[in-house]
């Protein structure tokens, strides 16, 4: 494939990765920023989102689009609710102690994964996308006969992939407005800045924590629902988004939402481009190497602020 179309295709693939990654990583980042909890089970909430999407879309047998749209609402809500239950049953009882919650969420990871294996089973299951047309993309060349339009082989994108990218952007903008403008956003930011002071002002910290944990898990589930018509639901699918989310959150700065989004775009696009031109393994190597450099030279992340 010629360089131009090849590069554009790589960018499109990268944008898709970035879109889903941004949603998932923002979930992880919000939880860390506000609760100071490193949620190792985040990838499993992602997986649960995909599995519930499969369940909803196959149970509601009217039309694939109806099932999928329903899943888009039901899966994040259910996963969010489950996370709230986990928060109340486990994290709250550990007093949100940073070290103990890491171990607790590792336990949660295995519980969710094994229960899914025992119920959903070990197979990958497809979800039918609500719409999916292939758009062949044109390429413009300045040839001997002047300006020409060509249709390179393999150069195309599907409508569903474009829709995922747009939908993720809408959700992220909405989330940003919610955090910046709403009253609950203000409460969340207040809790993040100074937990003790927020408590002194009568903010019910524990309830805020529960909702934040639910929101973080719900965002991961939403990312999964969007990607599942492309990638299928499988009980082991949580590993990669977890790793990538950690990479993104560390590079962007733990707890910084703009930083997380920027880092998701950076990692998503470079993953797409490096994967296409070189190899997916090299893309992962470079991303994890970048994490190492960030941790050594700028431990607060590219956009994070040093804690006082």
């Amino acid at each position: 494939m010629e360089f131009g179309p090849h590069f554009l295709l790589a960018t499109l693939e990268g944008a898709l990765t970035a879109a889903v990654l941004a949603l998932t990583a923002v979930g992880l980042s919000v939880v860390f920023g506000i609760m100071r909890v490193v949620n190792v089970a985040h990838g499993e909430f992602f997986m649960l989102g995909a599995v519930i999407a499969w369940f909803v879309s196959t149970t509601v047998g009217i039309h694939p689009a109806v099932g999928f749209l329903l899943a888009l609402v039901v899966a994040p809500v259910m996963v969010g609710f489950l996370a709230i239950v986990a928060d109340q049953l486990v994290l709250r009882r550990l007093d949100y102690d940073p070290e103990r919650t890491i171990v607790a969420t590792i336990g949660l990871l295995y519980c969710i994964q094994q229960v899914t294996l025992m119920t959903f089973g070990p197979d990958a299951r497809p979800v039918i996308p609500p719409f999916n047309q292939r758009i062949a993309l044109p390429w413009f060349e300045l040839g001997e006969q002047g300006f020409q339009v060509t249709w390179p082989w393999g150069f195309g994108v599907t409508t569903y992939k474009l829709a995922v990218i747009m939908f993720a952007v809408i959700i992220l903008v909405g989330l940003w407005r919610f955090l910046a403008r709403s009253k609950f956003g203000l409460i969340m930011r207040a809790t993040q800045l100074d937990r003790e002071m927020a408590l002194a002002f009568g903010i019910p910290i524990e309830r805020v924590y529960a909702i934040v944990f639910g929101l973080g898990a719900g965002l991961a589930a939403l990312g999964a629902v969007l990607i599942v018509p492309i990638r299928q639901a499988h009980y082991l699918m949580g590993g990669e988004p977890l790793l990538l989310s950690f990479i993104v959150v560390i590079i962007g700065g733990l707890g910084s939402i703009p930083g997380t989004i920027m880092a998701a775009i950076l990692i998503g696009l470079s993953d797409g481009i490096i994967s296409v031109f070189f190899s997916p393994t090299l893309a992962k190597i470079i991303a994890t190497l970048l994490v190492a450099f960030v941790l050594v030279y700028r431990p607060q992340g590219l956009f994070g602020r040093r804690l006082p």
Partner: protein, 433 residues
């Protein structure tokens, strides 16, 4: 100490043995000398304990599910016919998680905890390669249903056999002439990046070049990969045939993204059915496969007048004429591979029956297997006639090429057994037990 005594016994010549039997004059001595098998039958009705290493979880789960169903059906049949000379077969199934490390542990469990007489069943080549050395050390006959070239290549040991499914080297070698003569001369290969895929890469390229064709590009994909579009731009523009073989839970995604990438244009497709095992070829998004070709170990869709025992075998394992479960048409089987379990179990019945009564059953089983040559098409071996090579511990048989035609796979070519032959690379019979 134990090893020395085994060595001594296996070194007994026929003449010496006959003399010593004459001297002892007892049938008891008869049964204690290995090699004198098949003489003292049925003196035990203890079950024959067979360890079944099964991919219940991990990337091989779809195969595991069907390997287990086929195995249970075969064992039910054998036991209803009186087992092995009166000994019922008892299956001890253990999940290996499609993981080589776990595979070796499972083999060890069979030998030391479950006291199994033999082990069988594994498909994924990295699990076989990880487990076989342990089976050899524990002197446990290990019969695999894997397709990899690992057995015949000589890297394993005398206790490992692949008696009822052909290996990749012979399969691809038989495919190369057909692809070259009917589909195109310039091939790009896509394969999973582990032992099984490397067999495809090495032996297909070799056989295709021998025929005069060119391999333009070889694209390796990690077996646990979930996104594939980013690999496809590496396919060179002048590719005439795209040769694809993929495994793992994401095979449907792989084939779908292949279709989306080409969007109706693109090269001819030749795939190993592994890319679509346990997947309905009529799934949404796979319409582009119409007219493309597949290798199959045994045709998924029932073919008119081709395999005499196919219908009876389908009934026994609960598979309909389209290769799906009779109880759920969406549950598509791994039909092109799972016959290997059915046939291996019947093979085990035969060799155990011949080894019965020997003082060293495990060794006698291997010796009985090594003396097998022809395997005749029958309900025990519904995939077709085969030829077993006792030296390389590998079987050779017919291969099938099918073409997607209006939502089903129709057979277009059957290779001869001779098409799959290659020179021996090992003689396991020269290795000590």
């Amino acid at each position: 100490m134990k090893k020395d005594s085994t060595k001594l016994l296996s070194g007994v010549s026929r003449r010496l043995a006959l003399k010593s039997i004459g001297a002892l004059g007892g049938a008891a001595a008869f049964s204690s000398i290995p090699g004198f098998t098949g003489m003292v039958h049925g003196q035990t009705d203890e079950p024959f304990r067979l360890g079944f290493q099964v991919h219940r979880t991990g990337i091989g789960a779809a195969y595991g599910r069907w390997y287990e169903r086929t195995t249970n059906a075969a064992v039910a049949r054998i036991n209803s016919q009186g087992g092995i000379d009166g000994r019922p077969i008892e299956i001890i199934a253990e999940d290996d998680g499609t993981d080589p490390k776990r595979g070796a542990e499972v083999v060890e469990k069979f030998a030391t905890q479950h006291n199994c007489d033999a082990a069988f069943g594994t498909l994924f080549s990295h699990v076989v390669i990880g487990s076989a050395p342990r089976a050899g050390e524990l002197k446990l006959p290990y019969l695999v249903v894997s397709e990899g070239h690992h057995v015949a290549s000589g890297i394993l040991n005398r206790y490992t056999l692949q008696p009822c499914i052909t290996d990749v080297k012979s399969q691809v070698q038989a495919m190369a002439p057909y692809v070259h003569d009917n589909l195109g001369k310039k091939v790009t290969m896509i394969y999973p990046d582990f032992a099984f895929g490397h067999d495809h890469r090495d032996y297909f390229s070799e056989a295709f070049a021998r025929r005069g064709g060119t391999i333009l590009e070889q694209i390796a994909i990690p077996p646990a990969e979930t996104a594939f579009t980013r690999y496809f731009p590496k396919i060179p523009r002048d590719t005439e045939v795209l040769y694809h073989v993929m495994v793992g839970p994401a095979v449907l995604t792989f084939v779908k993204e292949l279709g989306e990438f080409f969007g109706g244009s693109g090269p001819a497709l030749f795939g190993f059915i592994d890319s679509l095992e346990a997947v309905d070829i009529n799934s949404p998004g796979l319409e582009f496969l119409d007219g493309s070709y597949f290798w199959e170990g045994m045709p998924r869709y029932q073919q008119q007048g081709m395999l005499a025992y196919d219908a009876e075998y389908r009934d026994a394992v609960g598979v309909d004429a389209n290769g799906a479960s009779v109880s759920d048409a969406r549950d598509v089987s791994t039909y092109a591979h799972m016959f290997g379990c059915w046939e291996t179990l019947h093979f085990i019945r035969d060799i155990v029956s011949r080894a019965q009564g020997s003082s060293n059953m495990k060794q006698a089983m291997i010796e009985a297997a090594e003396s097998v040559t022809d395997i005749t098409e029958s309900i025990e071996h519904p995939q077709g006639n085969k030829l077993f090579n006792g030296k390389t511990h590998q079987v050779f048989g017919h291969q099938y090429i099918t073409r997607v035609n209006g939502g089903r796979l129709d057979a277009v070519h059957t290779t001869s057994i001779e098409d799959t032959f290659y020179p021996d690379e090992v003689d396991y019979t020269q290795q000590e037990f």
